[in-house]
Symmetry: C4
Subunit: 279 residues, 4 copies
């Protein structure tokens, strides 16, 4: 909160702050949209540069565009530090670190050939969308999602520990049964196969060749069937529970923006002004 601007510089600083950090003014929203567009474009450029055929044709254009975007991102990063009152808070926040890591690889590419590919970390900047879409309905969905996942964490950890021990044992059995001639060259390789099979991915780069191996593999697949039901069951049970709780809590919620706990007598949402139809 910047109060009482004392000079023209301060006034400019305050204006830029509102544009960069704010989401309520037209300029602020426009800036956010342009920024998001540039992040998307930038991620696409880094991707396209690795496509040999495309890079051969447009190498020059790609590099110029990347430097323009990197320049913009650098300017934005510096302005963010300059216009905030607590630069440290921003610099060491998760978003601040991501913003820095998003521009570093380009500058490092002068010294280290091939470091440019790490610019892909810019994809993480796409998480800014959640800051831009600072809408209660939207944030509510994310929070509900994270809450259910968080509540399932304990059981899923226990479950994964059992799965880990099982994969080691199954992998070792398959190593002994199938042996190197069928692609099970070592226990770690066999464990890799077991995970590929248990998760029903099934690349087929390694597959059992002996009748006994195929029999054990069949058992593993049917086991994987039961196993895939467990995390699904855990997460679903949490969703169902939090869903029920939510329904009770949000009895007096606005249909438009999702803000809950309105006074039962109020006729308009205090957040977005939408007429309320409270049940």
């Amino acid at each position: 909160m910047i109060r009482k601007p004392k000079s023209k510089l301060n006034l400019l600083r305050q204006r830029i702050h509102i544009i960069i950090y704010g989401t309520d003014t037209v300029a602020g929203r426009l800036f956010d949209l342009i920024l998001l567009g540039l992040i998307l474009l930038s991620v696409f450029l880094v991707m396209l540069e690795t496509v040999k055929g495309f890079d051969a044709k447009y190498h020059h254009e790609l590099i110029i565009l990347e430097w323009i975007i990197t320049g913009f991102f650098t300017l934005e990063y510096l302005l963010r530090i300059a216009t905030t009152n607590r630069p440290r808070n921003y610099i060491f926040s998760i978003f601040g670190i991501i913003d820095l890591l998003a521009i570093l690889p380009m500058y490092l590419s002068f010294f280290l050939v091939g470091s440019k590919v790490f610019s892909i970390i810019r994809a993480l900047r796409l998480l800014r969308l959640f800051k831009i879409l600072n809408h209660p309905k939207f944030t509510g969905q994310s929070i509900h999602l994270l809450k259910a996942l968080n509540a399932s964490r304990g059981k899923i950890t226990v479950f994964l520990y059992f799965v880990l021990i099982s994969t080691i044992l199954i992998g070792s059995i398959m190593y002994v049964v199938e042996g190197e001639e069928n692609g099970f060259t070592s226990i770690p390789m066999s464990i890799y196969w077991t995970i590929v099979t248990l998760t029903t991915v099934g690349y087929g780069d390694i597959s059992p060749g002996t009748p006994l191996g195929q029999f054990i593999a069949s058992m593993v697949m049917i086991l994987g069937y039961g196993i895939i039901a467990v995390p699904t069951g855990i997460v679903t049970a949490e969703f169902t529970r939090t869903n029920t709780n939510k329904t009770e809590l949000e009895k007096n919620s606005c249909e438009n923006c999702g803000v809950a706990n309105h006074n039962p007598n109020s006729k308009f949402c205090y957040h977005c002004g939408h007429p309320l139809t409270l049940k």
Copy 2:
């Protein structure tokens, strides 16, 4: 609703309208069944034409049959426009557009070789089944299905956005780790691999070759395990909730046709006449 037919033509027009649009008369139901049969046949013909061995043998017969069906569809389309009182409503409705797109590719094939294959869009006409099966029980199922999916939309969008960012990052890591010699020729290709793995499809056209790559792939698969639980959990929680609500609302529903909210004292369903056993 066409009232007071003034001429023979008008009377004919009204009769055709009842046959084409109606589902209550014998002729109307028969027309719908024949239409559905022709749509199915037509879709099969377009498919079969692409099978080299079959097309070589029966090329001539296939083309004649296709033109007969296209002719019938064209006639039907024109009659639908001619017999309705509001042709614009039909022409610009979803079903009207599909009906037009279903006959266009055949006529376009005179000018554009190979455009005939787009006749496959006729498959969309199969959605007419829902208009024909205008049964409350059946429609209820569809509505329940769509409601649950619609309610899950918000959370699934948030979830897919996180998955998108994850696939970009995982794909880039695998591109750096595995490199071109193992098939990870570019970041977009690696992202394709990540999606193939995360969704547990696992073609095996690209699979990690280095120990580190296989280790990361194993982690991705186990992550995919947890991830597949999320949309399932979201959709299931919605189904459970709408299921519970439905049970309460449909307390006085007919066992035969599913129509709900009967008067608790009524002894027969007002829709199908089936005796009611209200609980």
Copy 3:
């Protein structure tokens, strides 16, 4: 129910009836166990005969064993007809038809070479286990399972119809995009690929080769993600509902055998005599 046996033959017939059809006497249970063992053995024999290496070694022994079992099954079939009072009911029941189909292929093999492999239909006789395990707890589980699946049938049919139309359209798009040089030789073949991908099976016998094809394939996989959640959600919601209903109905159920609706004052289960701990 055979009353008043008038001759020795009738007495014998009655005794055999109790052994073959009954599950309460020691002889009846023993007969059922031996029968189930023979069915299992027979299924294994038919399987093993198709394994070239094994058949080459033990061809003679396999054939003798198969004829012995077929002889026993034929005798059992005839005795079942002879000892029941209503032979027609048995002959035209599902189990009666299966019993006949289980022995026919062996006799047909005299006229039709290769018909012996259809003896595998004996696997269906394994369903007799449910008749033998005539235990309320066990039957309850099966009924609960079938009820939930039956209740989901309507929604799953609607869902599969949508999936069918989608696979036709996606398959056609991929046929146009990928073409024959990447294995998408015809629309039916492309539809086969679409089903392989949507269900996350992913053999990899056909996989997209063009960038656009891989992009569409990625979209299809993510769609498959959402799609797999739907039947799971439907079935789970039904299980949850029937589970809840069951809990209410079976309040006074026996812990040992599962029989429900006991008189709240009774101290022992009327079915198995186990002490009751009613809540």
Copy 4:
């Protein structure tokens, strides 16, 4: 419980007992952590020994390390027997048998070449973690998980029996339809393919080559879709039910350690001393 130590030896025995079996003293916890670390290290060593490139380089070091760990495990095993009052209880407990099996393969390797690989059974010793993490919150999660799985056992057995019969029949049909030239060399092989397909693993080592075979395979995949929903539905319904019951029972539970059923008036958890916020 060892009371009244009469000699120095007895005192030592008591102390070692507390260190090995106890988890409350610092020495006891330290011993458990070191033991767990050694188990993990040992499992990794057995794995690495099978990796040809690594074993060639560090064969000598691997063997020395393995013998040191085996020595430590042997000593621990003997001390566990020596310091407990009821050695039989320990020796014939599951953990006692695992502890013995974990050291046996190394000693057997003097007589039987290649038996060393079975030392991988040490992975089962990782289950000790649950004894070490003797935390109510953690144990509660495991118990909840096992309870839900146990409650689903009956239905899942019935379900798997149906799946088994289906795989035999589908496998046989595919054997007849596809034949040996497409890799379906025998009925057991075709059953293996059916399981690979039904569970959506889909290696692609065997895949249908005839149009009819591909059509049947498509049906099997869509069936597999419905089928995967069943165990998930069963497990989820149980999780939801036990979740609901849990919520009611644990109304007065501690947020920190999960211990439930506190006196509604208590202000601190009787187990961990954390301030309670009972609702």
